[in-house]
């Protein structure tokens, strides 16, 4: 029965033309949920900015690290292992890491999915698909020019934004400030 449902969904999705896809992406600002269903097969959720907001403004007492990256961004790929290492090293302190991919949606399957598998990325990954960058870039931080990598570290109301690359040591130094 489960499979039958799945097949029906698949057929519906397959029958939807490009026209519908466009329509959906313009409507996403009204529904702050993952942009589904045509991307349901992806191993990560896809959000527009409004959908992402709750994930980058959690009101618990944990230290949250949010890294904006993309597979096409060489300095992002370089620093990714440091973020993964930080997540491991500060697990006991309750640190949470979220990797927000800014990959092009048409490359989710061809680039992002294989990358996550090959590199065995264990961190939580979501994709941000929202073309209205002039709205959400300054909303995320007034100082962000739009270059990536970019990182937010926050805990409750304490929040810092970094438009820069990190070494492991630099990242650790920043994290420590939020823990103490």
């Amino acid at each position: 029965m489960k499979y039958a449902f799945f097949i029906i969904v698949l057929v519906i999705v397959a029958c939807k033309g490009e026209q519908d896809q466009k329509l959906e992406s313009t409507q996403t600002s009204q529904k702050p949920e993952a942009i589904v269903p045509q991307q349901q097969a992806l191993p990560f959720e896809v959000y527009d900015y409004d959908g992402l907001v709750p994930l980058i403004t959690k009101k618990d007492d944990k230290v949250h690290v949010v890294n904006f990256w993309a597979t096409w961004c060489a300095p992002c790929i370089k620093e990714l292992p440091y973020f993964e290492q930080i997540r491991e090293d500060y697990k006991g302190d309750g640190l949470e890491l979220l990797l927000v991919s800014l990959d092009f949606p048409r490359q989710y399957k061809s680039k992002l999915v294989p990358f996550l598998e090959q590199r065995k990325i264990g961190s939580e990954v979501v994709a941000l698909d929202d073309v209205d960058q002039n709205r959400w870039i300054p909303a995320i931080d007034s100082t962000w020019s739009g270059a990536i990598p970019a990182t937010i570290i926050y805990k409750g109301n304490q929040r810092k934004f970094y438009e820069q690359s990190f070494s492991y040591e630099e990242l650790k130094t920043e994290i420590e400030q939020f823990l103490n």
């Binding site: 092009f104 002039n134 870039i137 020019s145």
Partner: protein
Amino acid sequence: MKTLKLLLACILLVSTTAFTADTGGYKVGDVATDFELENIDGSMVSLSDYKDAKGFIVIFTCNTCPYAVAYEDRIIDLDKKYAKQGYPVIAIMPNDTDVKPGDNMEAMQARAKAKGFSFPYLMDKGQKIYPQYGATKTPHVYVLERTRKGNIVRYIGAIDDNYQDAKAVTTRYVEDAVDALLDGEEVSTTETRAIGCTIKVKA
């Protein structure tokens, strides 16, 4: 002792303000520097070479950034539309080519030939110009208006509001800015943000 403390405080104040003033590059309304940079044809290009220009669409861009590539056709269209109206496109490649060999002079020449660039594609050799403008990424656009005081920055930011799909664009920021300047009007949107690739420098 007291004067010494005061002096120290003064030095501290001056040094911190000097640092903050240093970052960020041009704001809208600032006079932008001219330059003399090597073009893909081996010639040296300056803004002052353009005797009849009313202004410029200066675009920091490169071969290797997917965002820059996504905008290539639209950059060509901008030059086609506005060069004859007095606002030529001047493309500047700001990356360090040791870090990004795909942006070296040969690669720039090949890319310009393949795409049929109708505008200069200059190498910011020594990376002296992009920091003065305050460019942080590719693509990063500066619309300049030529005045008696110099080339005044009138717009900084993105080309339009949809990097993914040129057909789905609703606001053409650069076109709107240049159209306003051509009509002798104020530019309404003077600054926008967009995702781009960091300008590559040696670590």
